[in-house]
Subunit: 670 residues, 2 copies
Amino acid sequence: MSSEDKYEVVFFPHGRRDFFAPGTTLMEAADKLGVDLSTVCGGKGTCGKCKVRIDEGNESLGPVKPGEMRHLTKDMIEQRYRLACLVKVKNAPLKVYVPEISRVGKQRLQTEGLEVPVTPKPMVRKYFLKLPVPTLHDMRADEERLLDALSDQYGLDKNKLRVDYDVIVKDYLPIKLREANWEVTAVVWNDKVMAVEPGNTTDRCFGFACDIGSTKLAGFLMDLNQGKVIAVGSRMNPQIPMGEDVLSRISYVLFYGEEAQDKLQKAVVGGINEIIDECCEKAGVKNNEIYEMTFVGNVAMQMFFLKYWPKHVAYSPYPPVVRRGVYVPTARLGLKGHPYSQAYYLPVFGGFVGADQLAVIMATRMLDRDEITMDLDIGTNTEIAVGNRELVTCDSCASGPAFEGMEIKQGMRASTGAIEKVTIDPSSLELHYRTIEDAPAVGICGSALIDIPAELLKAGLIDNKGKFVEKMAKQTDRLRRSKEGMWEYVIAWAKETARVVEKEVSPGVMKKETIPGIDIVITQGDLRELQKAKAAMHTGAELMLKYRGLTEKDIDKFWLAGAFGNYIDPENARTIGMYPELPTEKYVFVGNAAGTGARMALISTEMREYAEEISRKVVYYELAVDKDFQNEYARSQYLPYQDLNKYPLTRELLYRLGRIDENNKWIYPE
Amino acid sequence: MSSEDKYEVVFFPHGRRDFFAPGTTLMEAADKLGVDLSTVCGGKGTCGKCKVRIDEGNESLGPVKPGEMRHLTKDMIEQRYRLACLVKVKNAPLKVYVPEISRVGKQRLQTEGLEVPVTPKPMVRKYFLKLPVPTLHDMRADEERLLDALSDQYGLDKNKLRVDYDVIVKDYLPIKLREANWEVTAVVWNDKVMAVEPGNTTDRCFGFACDIGSTKLAGFLMDLNQGKVIAVGSRMNPQIPMGEDVLSRISYVLFYGEEAQDKLQKAVVGGINEIIDECCEKAGVKNNEIYEMTFVGNVAMQMFFLKYWPKHVAYSPYPPVVRRGVYVPTARLGLKGHPYSQAYYLPVFGGFVGADQLAVIMATRMLDRDEITMDLDIGTNTEIAVGNRELVTCDSCASGPAFEGMEIKQGMRASTGAIEKVTIDPSSLELHYRTIEDAPAVGICGSALIDIPAELLKAGLIDNKGKFVEKMAKQTDRLRRSKEGMWEYVIAWAKETARVVEKEVSPGVMKKETIPGIDIVITQGDLRELQKAKAAMHTGAELMLKYRGLTEKDIDKFWLAGAFGNYIDPENARTIGMYPELPTEKYVFVGNAAGTGARMALISTEMREYAEEISRKVVYYELAVDKDFQNEYARSQYLPYQDLNKYPLTRELLYRLGRIDENNKWIYPE
C-alpha cells in the first residue's frame, strides 16, 4: 500500500508503522517511529547489532550486501535476517521483526550504591517569614523587607543575599507578598532567594541526584531537610540508539554537527525527566518542589548533557572542556524541576575520567586515608585510582565494550534471558548456566563473560594464551569447529534457547509464537576480545602502580566500583587477571558509587567542596605517555598474566588442577 | 476611499496613512502609525494635550463633545480642532493635522552633566593570553587552561573565576581557542569570563551609560580603558505616548496589564537601542564591543525598564520593589550590547526618589562633606536632599509638570519656538522674550515659566498672592480679560507668532503654508498652577530643613540639579520662592547629574560601591507623615513666601521697586 510513492513499514512486536520514501534505511525508519533498535556503530554497518528479520517484502530489498555478510550467518540469511542500517525501503511495503537481541530492551539496572553517611547541609534552605507590613514609617522596598527578615529572623548575611530577577519579575514578587498577607517561605539557594512561596512550606524541600551512565540513568529524589532518598528511578540512556559507546556518540556529533549534539542532549534530558516524573509520582512531590539537582557521569556524558563541543576529548591529548564543577540553570538544560533551580555537575578529571570516578574517590575517602587503596571502575572506559592522603593518581584505559556484551558474537546486555553465570566442572566438564529471570537463554552478558574464560581455563579447555585446546574436543562436544571452520565452545544448546513470544499479528491482536532456538557459543574471536579488554584494565592498574613505585602488596583495600562490578565473580575476574591479585577479602564492592557521589553532593555543600578538592588534588596520569605500555599490554593478555609469580593464588589453583607444571608451563593433553 | 468598511486616515505633516475601522479613536490610529502625539492623561480626555485639526472629514465626526469643550477655545473649534483621544473614525476618510504643540517633537536635550574625575576601575577588563598548547603532559581542560593563564599572567584569583556557560557552549570555546591558535583575549566581567576573542583586542573595551528620564533618554558610549566618553546620543523617551508623567504610565500598566508593561519596557529599550546604534556609528564601535551598561532613572523608570510590577509604589506607603543596585543580563532586557553583557541599574531610595537623586548625592559628594549642603532636582517629582557626612536625608515632592509646560494653557516643552526667556521692565512695563532657535513663538517652556511670575511680581502686575493687579490694565494692554472673562497677560502677540511651515499636500509634494498667529498668554489659572508647583518644592525643602533642625542659614551650598535646573534663572526662581533664599553664589548648577552618576558607575566599581553606600546611608523622609505639611504648603504659595523676613534679599528688592511698604504689606496702585 503506497501513499504518494511512499511504502508502509511495520515494526513488530512494537506494532509501530508509517509510510517511508524509497531510500530510507530501516534504522532511520525505526528511529523515526521510536522503535528501540540496538546499534554500537551508530548506523555505519560495522557492528552488526541491528539485525532484523524481514517477514514480508524481503525480496524487494535485493540480495544480501557484503557488509551484511560479515555479520549474518547462513542460518540467519535463510531466515531473512538483514542489517537495518544497511537496507533501504525500495518499492514495496515491509514487515520487520526486531528480535530481542537487537533491542535496547528492559535491562537490569543497579541504581543504589554505597550509602555513605553525610550530615545534611544542602545548598537549598527554606525559611518561613512573617514580614512587617509597609507603613509610612517603614517604606522599605519589597526585596529589602524580605532580605531584612532573613537577616533578622535567621541571621543570614543580607549583603550577600539577593532575590532572583525572575522571582521579582516573572513571579510578580510584589503581588505575591501581598496576596500571601506577608507570610511567606523564602527558598534560598546559595546566596540567592530562588523562590518565594505563600505560607509555610518549609517541610517540603526536595532535590534530585542523577547518575548519567553511558548505558543507564539512575535518579534519586531526595528530601533535602532529612538528607534521605524518597524515590528511585532508572532508565536506559536514550542516547544509545545514537551510538552504544561514547566514541560512537562523539562521532555521531562530529558527523552530523550541532543538530546531533542537540538530539543527544535532548535524549538524555528526556530520559532524566521521565525519571523525575516517575519519582515525583511515587513520592507525591511536585516538579517545582525540586529546588536543585546534581549530576555525575563520565566526561563524555558531561559534554553531551551540558552541550560542550565534544571533539577534542576524542583526540590526543584528550583535554576536557571544563574540569571543575559547573552550575547551569535547569531551565537551560530542559530539566523538569523548579523553573529557577540549578543543576550542578560534579567536577571531572582529565581524559575520560569523569565525575563517576570522582564519586568513587569521594565515597571511599581514598584521599583521607593513611593506607594505600586502589579502585577499579569497570566500564567501556575503565578508571583506576590509587593512593592515600599524600597523593592519589588516576588513569583511564580504553577497555572497550566487550564486557558489556559488545563485539562478542552472542554478547548482550544484562537483560531478560541473558546468561549471567557459567560454571564448568574442571574434571567432568559439565556446564551449568543461569539466565536473568530464568528465561530461555538469548545471549551472554558481562558477568558470564568473566566466568567463561575463567572456567575454560580451570577446565583446561583453553590455555593461558586463551587459545582453545583443540584436543579437548575429544572430551566434550561443546568444543567444536563452526561451519566457517573456527573453534567455538557451546554455552547453551539450541533446544534450550527456543522460546515462546507474544506477537502482534494485527493491531491489538496478540498471538503466541515459538522462536526456534540457536546454539549460543563463545568463539575464539570472542575470547580474544575479552583478553584485550581485561589486558587493558590490567595494564592500567599495573602501570599506575609502577608509576607510583608500588606493587599489589602495598594495597590495603581494592575497591570494585560500577554497577557492573557488583555482579561479577571477583575470584573469576582475578583468575583471568582482570586486576592485580590480592587476597579475596581485600576486594570491596562499592557498587554504583557515581550515584552515591551525586547524592552526597546534593545533600551537602561540604561534599561539593570535597569533590572540588578531589578534582584539584588527584593527579591524572595519561597511560599513553608510558613507554612500557605496549610491553605491559602484551604481558597482560595472558590468563591471568605472563609471569604467574605475580599471581601466586591463581598459580597454585592451576597447579592443583594439573594445568601447569612446577615451572609454570602449560600442560597440554596427549 | 474605503477598504472592507475601513476608512483611510492620513496624518500631516507626517504623511503616515492607513485604513481604520469605525470606532477607532484618532489617538489609537496615531499610535498604530507611530505618529508622535502628545498626551498627559494617557488618552482619557482629561489633559487636552492631543489637539489635532481635522482638515478633511470633520463633519463625519459629529459635533464637538462636552469633554472636548473643556479644552478647546471657540477659535479652535472654528478652526476644526478636536481632541484625538475623544473622536473616532466613523464613516468617512480623514485628514488630520497634528500641530506642533501637540507633538512630542524634537526637543532640546541636555545630555552632559557635571564631569566628576573618577579613576577608571571598570568591572570589565580585557586580558591578552598566550595559552600553552595541550600535550599529553599537559591535559588541562580548556576552561582551566584559560583561567590558569589569567592567574599566572595577570594574578587573577583562579578559584573565584569562571567562564560563562554561553561562552563555552554557544560560542564553542574549544573550537574558538584552537582556531585562534591559543592566542586570545579574555573579557572578564566581575569574576566571570564573559567573552573570549581571537587575538589581541585589549585596546577595544567599551561600555554604555544611560540616564532614563521620564521625558528624555541620554546615552554615553565610553571607552572603559580610558574612562572617557566617546559618543553621546539622546532621544525623547518613547514611553511618552503611553502617558506623559510617570503616574499616567503606571495607570496605563495597571489598566492594560502585562501587555502594557511589556509595551512600556520595549518602548524605552527601543529608544535606548537607537541611541546605542547612533553612538556606535559615530564612534566606529560594534554593538558586541559594549561589554557592560549602567542605568539611572527614577523609581518608576527603574520599574518600567526592569519590568517590576509598578502598582504599589503608586499607593501609600509607596514602597519600591527593589532598592539596591540590580544586575540583569542585557539580553533579557532586549538591549543591543554584547550578548552576554550585564546591565547595572543603580540603587534607588524610597518613594519616587530614584537613582537620579542618588547620582546627585554621588556627584556632589554631599555625604563626604563636613559642611551642610542641600540639593534640589527639579522635575515632575522634585527630589530634595540635605546633610553632611553625619547624615543625609532626602524626600520627594509631587511638584507636578507645570514647569514642564503641562497644565499651562500655552505651555510646551523646550523645543523649537518655545518662549524660553521673558523680561519685563518694572517701570516701562516693556516686555522682551526669546524663543528657542529664534523661531516664531509657539508656546512657553519651563525656564520662561519661572521668569514670568518673577517679572510680573517685580513689575507689580501681580501681587504676592499671585493675583493680577487689575488696575495695572490701565498701564498695559497686555493685561486684559479673555473672552471668557478671565484675567490674562499677553506674552506674545498673534502677529509675532504667525509662521510659515512646510506641509505635504500630496505624498512627497511639500508646500509652504502660513499658519495664522495667536496671542500667547499667561492666565490667572496658569499662575495658580505655577504657584502650586513651586509651593510643593518649597514645602519639601522647608520641611526637610525643619525635620533636620536646620535653617537656610546653615546651608553652605545649594546644588541645582536636573537638565531643567540648568536653564533656569536662579534669581528669578529665588524671587518666586521656588527654594530657600540664599546668596546667589551659594547656588551651584550640577546639571544632568543622573547621567554623570551613570558614567561614574560605569567606569568604576568603587563608584558602584559608593552608590550602594549612599543608597543604604541616606534616610528617606516621607513628607506625607509631616503634620505641618498643609500649613507650610499654604505659606509657600505666596511669592516668594508668606513671611518675607525669610527672604531678606527679595524683600529688599520688592521694597526698592516700591511693591511693599516697610511692614512688608503689598502696595496696590490707586
